[in-house]
Amino acid sequence: MKQIAHFRYTLLAAAVALLLPLLLPSGTLATEVLVFALAALGCNLLLGYTGLMSFGQGIFFGVGSYTAGVVLLQLKLALLPALALAALGGALVALLVGWFSIRQRGTYFVMLTLAFAQMFYFLAYTMKDVTGGDNGLLDIPRPPLALFGLTLLPTTSSWQYYTVVAILFVLVFWLLQRVVDSVLGKTLLAVRENEARASALGYDVRLLKLAAFVISGAVTGLAGGLHAMMTGVAPLSNIEYHTSEAILVMTVIGGTGNLFASVLGASFYVLVGNWLSTLWPRWLMLLGLLLIAVSLYMQKGLFGLAMKIIDAVRGNKGASAQAATATATKEKHS
């Protein structure tokens, strides 16, 4: 049962990666969807599986961008090592931020992550030699996907690059699904549900939260690195508060506690945002209203809504009430 669920969502994620080129006219837009889906996955691991609402995801995204930018520009590294370093950079900074933040709980924790987001923004702003300050890093190259000097895939066109991103996306999704299905994932859920009890059972809650932070930072850092290569720049705005906010909003709109929900959330945010922003530059106001509506009426996000609809279509109305929580509990008890 576990195995099926585990592959079902990975297959769904792969289906999204295959469908995007059929539905979208622009390779860059499709790439952006998957890049932010990765970032939202990292955020979901914290919020949905560990109960930690982090406003600092933009830090890891920005650090990933800068790391990839610096090593591609200065060291002329190949694609995979550059991305590995971006993920490592994200993980290390997440270790630092997490180490400070998880000393606090609840709202205090949330405030701290936001304060850290501001701190790293100003840090990036002052470290002009490394980050380029206001201008960011420009003309970041995009090397082909190569292994042992053998070019596997070129990345010159946006669709070629999309292919590389899509492969990495499905791979990371599968790995993360393995993580949340593993003992570690279950223990994180235990921490989310009842921290005091998890602690009383002998789990090192701090260490578990820190592990979640590091994994989240690595995935988000990878997303940041991919984003820098996508646009050819690592701008200061990648580490801004608004990036943190956007990643969190995608995660929440998608729904927490199921990894595939984040793919839905990121797709919705990027695609609807892209469409609306051409109609009305102040579309973020609608996003704000949507957030208000989600917090009042749709707390399971788009994924919860989709589950409800699927259940209604199937006709078992009795189960529709629990539909939204079904996946979360299933994972807990399997």
Partner: protein
């Protein structure tokens, strides 16, 4: 030596403003156990109302009355008609709701006043500097210190000396108990939320002649308000005062030593305090 003395005095001025910005956040948290992520947007709204009032030619003094009143009224309406349905939800929905509200306010401000910043001139009476021997200080900042000190005393008196204050303090301990005593806790919630917003609105109006009004000052203000209460201790009145002044002085002195890093050092100071006292200087353990 004089330059540092001046910067410390300057820092006290900014710090008092930061106190006014953060104290509402702290009081609202104390009573409602609710962190308001739209607090920075209330500050933003205050600054723009100040700009609008002076731009209409009504004069700066009116803005000090109108900005807090309008922001407070807005917050009161939001609390009364929407926000109270959110209290029962898990705390991250409080945050989402107020983040959504902050986005709406910020975008409404840009729609109304445009994406570029605006300058606000201090009133004629407060232009220029005062001199005491070799000591020079801008009049406007002196006024800010004076007014915020009066506001601090007033707030302290409301919290410590009035019936409302005693209800608020009792409510911070146990809202159920206050309800059981037959007091309408809902009305008090609305009132305190509006009061918290009004102080942020006043802080915004006072800040406008110093730093202008731009659409993204809300986010910056929210960050600083968080730092102030993390340093001082969430829910503590005196913590907000000490935290505010400390942050103001750090920012001001650092702007002489290393101007680009002045903002960065605020957050470094926060991290340092957290290492030494995780609950803030005056915070109680478990308050969050």
């Amino acid at each position: 030596m004089n330059i540092y003395l001046l910067q410390i005095a300057n820092g006290v001025g900014i710090g008092m403003l930061y106190f006014l910005l953060a104290v509402g956040l702290s009081i609202v948290f104390g009573l409602l156990r609710f962190v308001n992520f739209s607090h920075g947007a209330f500050f933003l709204l205050g600054a723009y109302l100040c700009f609008q009032v002076t731009d209409l030619g009504l004069g700066f003094w009116w803005s000090l009355l109108i900005a807090p009143l309008v922001v407070g009224l807005f917050a009161w309406i939001v609390e009364r008609f929407v926000l109270r349905h959110v209290y029962a939800l898990p705390h991250h929905f409080h945050i989402l709701f107020t983040v959504g509200m902050a986005l709406v306010i910020q975008e409404a401000v840009i729609s109304t006043w445009g994406p570029l910043g605006n300058n606000v001139a201090p009133p004629d009476l407060l232009q220029g500097v005062v001199m005491w021997g070799g000591f020079v200080y801008p009049k406007y900042r002196l006024f800010v210190i004076g007014l915020t000190a009066v506001m601090a005393l007033l707030l302290w008196w409301v919290l410590e000396g009035t019936r409302l204050g005693s209800i608020v303090r009792a409510g911070s301990e146990s809202t159920e108990m206050v309800s059981l005593l037959g007091l309408n806790i809902n009305r008090i919630f609305s009132l305190v939320f509006a009061l918290g917003a009004a102080t942020a609105g006043l802080a915004g109006a006072l800040a406008a002649p110093i730093r202008g009004a731009d659409p993204f000052m809300g986010v910056e203000a929210l960050g600083i308000a968080f730092v102030v209460v993390v340093i001082g201790g969430l829910g503590s009145f005196w913590g907000a005062l000490i935290g505010g002044i400390l942050v103001g002085i750090v920012q001001s002195v650092m702007s002489t030593v290393w101007s680009e890093g002045a903002h960065l050092m605020i957050y470094v100071a926060m991290a340092a305090v957290m290492l030494l006292r995780p609950n803030g200087l005056l915070g109680r353990p478990g308050a969050a």
